[in-house]
Point group: C2
């Protein structure tokens, strides 16, 4: 294939309207793909063009977009992911999330880069994408069922075990605002409540099977990168293979940044009980991977009665370990594995779930919630039984779970009595398990992320990347010396800005950020797949463009700089540990945000790119969107 023939992307976008059951195909040109790429930026293009500000995220006007990137499905580790986006029912603003597994590569093999789901079905349905054949099928018999069962049943009725399924669980059906979508029952598009959006559309699942080879412009260039990874991962990713994403728990605890008891503490006495190495030695029964990846960072765990944890739901990731563990004050790894299983079976984001439970625990301990409110549960930090119960009643919207299913921001409002102080959320989305007091640039990341609190839009560990691979990337950005994780100077803001743009690019590519790739590898992957002659400069601009689209989306919904805040608690110092008495200055943070806005070419009051910045990002058409604010917050 010549350089002129596109490769990497399929060139076809599937649009399905569930209200009128219409199915259509769009075929954007090469320029479109090079500009919007896939994932976040492509989703941003469509959401900004097609959604009116002020629509109900759980109404038929919202759209749900699954978008793989131009290197998704390429035969190389890290290329197995897809993005999903919609207006978020948690934030009433921008929402996007990414997940791996095998579904995204299968989507590409079926000949599609992106699926746009519109409208709302009258009855439960699922989508069956069998190469070029697309069918809207009845899902009444699947409604209410857990993900494992649904996967099996769809594969059975389609008569093909190789069918890959993205689906919601009962939590999504019940519009839990932080319901997730799962690929292959274990890989979650966790954040922003896309599962609720899918549920509101009565769409249970998207089943995909493809038999088309993905065109590649220069397969040998792709092969070189894949080989480099195979040759090096055993050294570079040894910890991930051995102990999974929770390998770092002891290190975080040592630094005093293991989120504990609803961000009241930064160290957890039971940290070793929930460490990745401990999982390896106890409940681990196998390792698992995503498409084309030899690292096998995913876990399979099994626990007997009374927990009955089934390996099909995978083992808990770091976020889950911390959210259902230290954050809820619990050190029972089996209980965490069980909580993880309920989340994956019912389709709940483990981060918001654990965070919401911890919020309720603190309210309970402070007397804001009583046993009457909890239905008799002794909802104290460290009560593993209570944690497991809470996960279930959130998924089922029972009792207090029904209130928490609205997310901590809305729940706090309903609970009253000052509960809002203990809701660890930004813009309505719960904080993930990364402590900004010990890596303060992350605080900027939390505040400015268009998704609300989120760790996948700001490369959370950069501030500790003193040596090795990540610093190579930072150095190639022109930052020669590591900055203190406690530094909030303009130099840190600059580093964070670059890193945030790069992370946004990775969410467009949609590449796994755990891969030990350098910039040159990703440029080679993109060029090898597409035949383009791109540069890291252009790719950084793709990321910046994605962020710009999302910020304009939020500005239209009434968001301004006033909403770029972090919870007050994070301005308080810890009473003990290595970060004792060290706190983020509120004025310092304010100043850093102002510096960020100006550095990024954003209007410092609206916190949105200026017209000139939009034009610089080849987003001239977006300029007029700046005037479309319908909601003044």
């Amino acid at each position: 294939m010549t350089e002129q023939t596109p490769g990497g992307y399929t060139g076809k976008i599937l649009r399905v309207n569930l209200s009128d059951k219409s199915i259509s195909i769009e075929e954007p040109d090469d320029k479109f793909y090079r500009q919007y790429f896939g994932g976040t930026a492509l989703i941003g293009y469509y959401l900004l063009k097609e959604l009116k500000p002020g629509i109900d995220p759980l109404g038929p006007d919202n759209k749900l977009i699954f978008s793989a990137g131009v290197i998704t499905g390429v035969p190389c580790a890290g290329c197995g992911r897809s993005g999903v986006g919609s207006k978020s029912p948690l934030t009433d603003g921008w929402g996007d999330s990414q997940a791996g597994g095998f579904w995204p590569a299968e989507l590409k093999r079926a000949g599609w880069d992106t699926i746009i789901v519109e409208g709302k079905a009258a009855n439960p349905v699922y989508l069956w994408v069998n190469d070029n054949k697309v069918e809207i099928r009845d899902a009444s018999h699947l409604w209410g069922k857990a993900t494992k069962e649904v996967e099996k049943q769809i594969q059975d009725e389609l008569g093909d075990k190789r069918v890959r399924i993205a689906q919601i669980g009962p939590a999504g059906e019940k519009l839990v605002r932080f319901a997730c979508i799962l690929n292959d029952t274990t890989h979650a598009y966790g954040r922003n409540g896309h599962g609720a959006v899918m549920g509101s559309k009565m769409l249970k699942a998207i089943a995909v099977r493809g038999n088309q080879a993905l065109p590649l412009a220069h397969p040998e260039k792709v092969g070189e990168v894949a080989k480099w990874l195979r040759d090096n991962y055993k050294v570079l990713s040894a910890g991930l293979t051995a102990h999974g994403t929770s390998e770092g728990v002891p290190g975080l605890n040592e630094k005093g940044i293991l989120p504990t008891r609803n961000f009241q503490e930064g160290q957890f006495e039971g940290y070793m009980d929930i460490a990745g190495a401990t999982m390896t030695e106890t409940i681990l029964v196998g390792r698992d991977n995503c498409y084309a990846c030899p690292i096998n960072c995913k876990r399979k765990v099994e626990v007997g009665p009374p927990y009955n944890v089934d390996p099909v739901y995978g083992g808990p990731e770091y976020e889950t370990i911390a959210a259902l563990g230290s954050f809820c004050g619990g050190n029972d790894l089996k209980a965490i594995a069980k909580g993880n299983q309920i989340c994956n079976a019912y389709g709940l984001d483990t981060i918001s779930t654990g965070n919401s439970i911890a919020f309720a625990m603190e309210c309970f301990e402070r007397g804001i919630l009583s046993k009457e409110d909890t239905g008799g549960i002794e909802l104290k930090f460290g009560n593993a039984e209570a944690m497991m119960t809470m996960v279930e009643i959130i998924a089922k919207r029972q009792g207090l779970g029904d209130i928490l299913a609205e997310g901590t921001m809305r729940a706090a409002e309903k609970i009253g009595h000052g509960a809002a102080e203990y809701a660890m959320q930004i813009k309505g989305q719960e904080l993930p398990m990364h402590e900004p007091r010990g890596k303060v640039g992350l605080g900027i990341g939390y505040a400015i992320s268009p998704t609300g609190a989120d760790h996948n839009h700001n490369m959370h560990d950069t501030e500790y990347a003193i040596e090795g691979r990540p610093l190579e990337v930072i150095k190639a950005m022109g930052i020669q010396e590591p900055l203190s994780p406690l530094d909030l100077s303009p130099a840190k803001v600059r580093m964070f800005r670059y890193v945030v743009n790069w992370q946004h690019f990775q969410n467009c590519a949609v590449i796994c950020c755990f891969q030990p790739f350098n910039w040159s590898h990703l440029v080679q992957l993109v060029n090898g797949a597409t035949g383009w002659n791109t540069s890291v400069f252009e790719l950084m601009k793709v990321g910046e463009r994605a962020l710009a689209l999302a910020r304009v989306f939020n500005a239209r919904e009434g968001y301004t700089a006033k909403d770029d805040i972090i919870p007050e608690r994070l301005y308080e110092a810890f009473n003990s540990g290595p970060l004792k008495d060290k706190k983020i200055g509120k004025q310092t943070m304010h100043q850093a945000l102002q510096t960020y806005y100006k550095m990024a070419g954003w209007d410092p009051e609206r916190a949105v790119p200026t017209a000139e910045k939009l034009q610089e990002l080849d987003l001239g058409w977006v300029v007029e969107e700046l005037d479309k604010t319908v909601i003044k917050k």
Copy 2:
């Protein structure tokens, strides 16, 4: 050598004070080189740190800095250049210029990256840099002599024909404000009048001889790029080899953008007489090159009596052909070659020389200058004899030549009677031979160039780069489609901003922009030489940093957005030719400049980077320089 050992640069900067004859050495660290690189950025660092605003550019407080880049002297085509910088006697602001030849690589081989010349000698001197031995030697016997003679005499007295010499001619001694400095009698640091600065310091020449191998981190990576060039230049640079830099004259004429008669016209009836191909067929006797370059774009020409053009002074480049030819209305190639020889023998910038003569010709034709003023010369467009005489009397500062030696801005003020209208200059520097009415983005380039009117700070031909190599670079910037050369939309401003930053990087590298390299080649050259793992993103920031330093330097001198203008004439449409009736709208240009400032992160009134932009460029120390303006223009 390992990646930790620096390569590419020598790590040594030579500082010579001619007032007290002190010589010292500075050895910046690796971070410094990666941040300031060489050429424009490195010069900017020193000029901004060490010059007080308001100093006399021709006084002892000015400094003259010769700075090679981290890939200068690397065994690859394009790597034979050096930058020179000082406060410009033309603009009373920032000045930098670049030249090739063999002197720069010799400087590196002698173990030096940069020479900073300070103070003023009591009597004429020259500098003898013989590897680590540095000597200030008497040059009284050389003062007043032409460059060819000086070169021979220095080589003779040093007893080494391989000594390379950068020198001024008599014009520099006489402080002609657009005097140049020449490497090897033919390669000129032409713009901004550095020759006058060197003259003001009584420094006739810098002779260099080196015997040290330049350390390279990865010679094989450098070798790959050198080989690629050797394998491809015969196709990619065929025109340059065959006919030199003036190969494009017929094409420019066809497009109506061959600067003619002081920008009164865009087409010249005698264009074929001055075309590169015509030179090839007539007066060409040989081709010449710069260090390590096989392209041989330099010319050797010979003309017998009465012209007596000596091949040692080289043949005229495009700029010279147009400036002394069409711009003065002349089609006599032999006369142009003679004018070129006088410029190189006396050390005059051919662009400002030709431009000044054309200015005087127009004044003469309009009756502003009389035969009395010209000393009897019939100073009309097309008078080749007059042109040659004028070159000589400018160099010698005789009669009208003495007035023109001040540059057109100052000359117009002295002449009065509305002469300023015909001075084709910006910020005091004369326009080069590129017509913005047919490539309007160049107009922005002219207006914002910190050097005043200049084509080496904005990649003048980009707007016609519809196909082939240059578009690959533009595409890798994220610009997928060529823009009309007449477009001044924000999209064009964006392209121009990227191109300007890249061109500034090339002036830091200091790489020849005629090489058909892609971005990846340059990244590989830098990494191969230095052992860094840099990226084009970082290199673009180096360029942006260089421009920022220069703009802050100008802001300190009182320059603001009000000075970012182009001559009024360029807003008038041509009466004929392909651009007939097409003009640049003045309001459109104003708007484009405002867009540029905002896109670039510049304060739109002072036209200088904001504090936040400086911080983003790792120039936090420069922020306070913004408050040091001493001159309000």
